[in-house]
């Protein structure tokens, strides 16, 4: 556990969040927080409302009830791109890369909230636009080095294999240099080796960039290893919240999700 968590300062806290679609209650009365510098896992069976939770956090869904506090301030009703500007980036369960663009362009798009040159300078290119482009290119190259994807820099991402696409998507979220990174099943569909790589990247992201991470993952081995704290959802309700060891032995969590080993 890193030192930052001990300070106990919450980067994000959700208070009594309820979200429903018509008659279906996707989330009801969820309260939890994510501390600065922490890796926070959200687990639960399918349909528990984990992805809805992330969608609430980055403003894609607006909860009918409850408060979202981010970085010390109550968040009003904002559009997703405004929330991105505040410093929340995410990856998706099904890869949502820009398939027609190269790896480099995908990562550069991740930095779009940090680029400001206007239409006129963009058209002229020489001068402001180029300078800005080169500045951000350097940052993106740093991330390319970090994720070891130098060789596919100019390859259209549509041509890349699944595991690499997942990595590029992580890179795109990293490029935003956000305060909070949301990862929706970053290891789904990966083999053991790819999972190990991804775990290493996630831990390194936290340690090198100081990013706070909230992730959804089904691989319990991974979750228990890398998460600092875990929150468990089931049918839109919170049924567990605590350190991995507590969760592992929690009766309700075992009943709802983890199950018992046959012995």
């Amino acid at each position: 556990m890193s030192a930052a968590i001990n300070s106990g300062e919450a980067l994000l806290s959700l208070k009594d969040i309820s979200l429903s679609f018509g008659g279906v209650n996707a989330l009801s009365g969820i309260t939890f927080d994510v501390l600065k510098g922490e890796i926070r896992a959200i687990i639960g069976p399918n349909g528990a409302g984990k992805s809805s939770m992330l969608n609430v956090i980055n403003g894609f869904y607006h909860p009918q009830q409850g408060e979202v506090w981010f970085d010390g301030a109550l968040r009003g009703s904002l559009k997703p791109y405004q929330i991105a500007r505040q410093g929340i980036a995410r990856t998706f369960q099904n890869i949502a890369l820009f398939k027609g663009m190269s790896t480099l362009d995908n990562l550069m798009t991740g930095r779009i909230t940090k680029m400001h040159s206007n239409l006129f300078w963009q058209a002229i290119w020489k001068g402001k636009a180029e300078k800005e482009e080169l500045k951000h290119r350097e940052r993106v190259e740093h991330i390319i080095d970090f994720l070891e994807i130098q060789a596919i820099r100019k390859t259209p991402v549509g041509r890349l294999p699944y595991g690499l696409q997942k990595r590029v998507e992580l890179g795109r979220a990293l490029a935003a240099e956000s305060k909070l990174l949301l990862l929706d099943e970053p290891m789904a569909g990966m083999n053991l080796e790819e999972k190990e790589d991804m775990c290493r990247f996630i831990l390194d992201v936290r340690d090198e960039f100081g990013t706070t991470i909230a992730l959804i993952e089904h691989d319990m081995g991974v979750v228990m290893d890398i998460a600092d704290r875990v929150v468990v959802l089931d049918y839109g309700k919170k049924i567990g919240d605590g350190y991995p060891d507590e969760i592992r032995n929690d009766k309700r969590v075992i009943d709802a999700y983890l199950g018992v080993a046959h012995d």
Binding site: A84, T109, I112, Q122, E141
Partner: protein
């Protein structure tokens, strides 16, 4: 062999992301530009101007515009003809209303007017996508043409309802009207096309272009990453309409001289430009030029071969050309659905490795 990138090392990011990273490309483009600016104006005659070069330049401009909207930003538009009409009528009102105004300025302002109209008709794109948007832009096409037919102010209350361009000059040389020399009209259009092709390249490779492509490839992810959809889509509509407006203004002032909206800017023009960018390559500046060349020059080439070469009757040749061009469009779309630009890209990749493909 001669076309290669081995040994062409880049030592800075600026060099790595230049428009033509391969030396041979840079030389080739340079040669073409020098030829277009310094040789063609001296050898151009009326036939080459009116049948080949002007149509190619004007349609290349329109294709560039539509490619920004459809190819880069993924918003299908069938309003191209209508937007060209806006450019043409804006140019007409400006040349007749302000006779002193420099022709360059007239064309640019016409583009500006069209950009504004484009934004207005782009508003539905915030709610509707794909084919539905195409239908919405179709409304723009019919409404605009109807408007220019119906409101006499637009055609200065002329009895015929036609608009005719007055003679205007740039630096003392006429570029519009029947007295304009071929080389002058050609150079006038060429300057616009070259400058705006470079601008299109710059816009599409930077922040703005990436936000357009992000919207095209996955709009939800784009928004969550921080691309404001409203700004991205409307800026694409504005820039695209600006280009198309310029194309329309050039088409009317320099090429046609006189125009009637239903005839000159009908729905067939919208489809023509759309075909150009589909065949040339969506999301490619080079593809816009190839597509424009394919659709404007191929019929001329066939006509020359069959009428002048084989001595066949003109009306028969006309019909054969329809079939031939149609057949070729299908052929190329089957061979390479991503357009001729993609075909060229693949050829370049092969050429780079030739003669050792592995």
């Amino acid at each position: 062999m001669f076309y290669r990138e081995s040994g062409d090392f880049k030592s800075s990011y600026a060099a790595d992301q230049q428009t033509f990273p391969i030396r041979f490309d840079r030389i080739a483009v340079g040669v073409v530009l020098v030829f277009a600016f310094l040789v063609v104006p001296f050898v151009i005659d009326d036939y080459w101007e009116k049948s080949i070069l002007l149509p190619f330049l004007v349609w290349a401009m329109a294709a560039l515009g539509l490619n920004i909207l459809t190819g880069y930003c993924g918003q299908v538009s069938l309003g191209t003809g209508g937007f060209m009409a806006v450019g043409a009528y804006a140019a007409y009102k400006l040349t007749t209303g302000f006779p002193e105004l420099n022709m360059f300025l007239v064309i640019l302002l016409s583009g500006g007017v069209t950009a504004f109209v484009g934004i207005v008709f782009g508003l539905p794109s915030l709610r509707i996508k794909g084919f539905y948007l195409a239908v919405a832009t179709l409304a723009a096409q019919f409404f605009l043409v109807w408007l220019f037919n119906k409101v006499p102010w637009f055609y200065n209350y002329s009895a015929s309802g036609m608009i005719t361009v007055p003679e205007r000059s740039v630096f003392g040389i006429a570029v519009t009207g029947s007295g304009a020399p071929s080389w002058a009209t050609y150079l006038f259009c060429l300057v616009f096309v070259v400058v705006f092709a470079m601008i299109a390249r710059n816009l599409t490779r930077g922040r703005l272009g990436r936000s357009w492509m992000a919207i095209r490839d996955m709009d939800i992810a784009a928004e969550i990453i921080g691309v404001p959809p409203l700004q991205a889509k409307l800026s694409a509509f504005a820039v695209s309409s600006f280009y198309i407006g310029i194309a329309g203004a050039l088409f009317f002032t320099v090429y046609l001289g006189a125009a009637e909206p239903t005839e000159a800017f009908g729905i067939d023009k919208s489809f023509l430009v759309l075909f150009m960018i589909i065949i040339g390559g969506l999301g490619s500046i080079f593809g816009s030029f190839v597509g424009a060349a394919f659709m404007t020059l191929l019929p001329v080439l066939f006509k020359n071969i069959m009428v002048a070469g084989f001595g066949w009757p003109t009306d028969l040749v006309q019909h054969i050309i329809f079939m031939l061009v149609g057949g070729l469009i299908m052929f190329f779309l089957i061979v390479e659905p991503n357009g001729l630009a993609q075909l060229w890209r693949v050829a370049k990749e092969k050429l780079r490795l030739w003669p050792f493909p592995h």
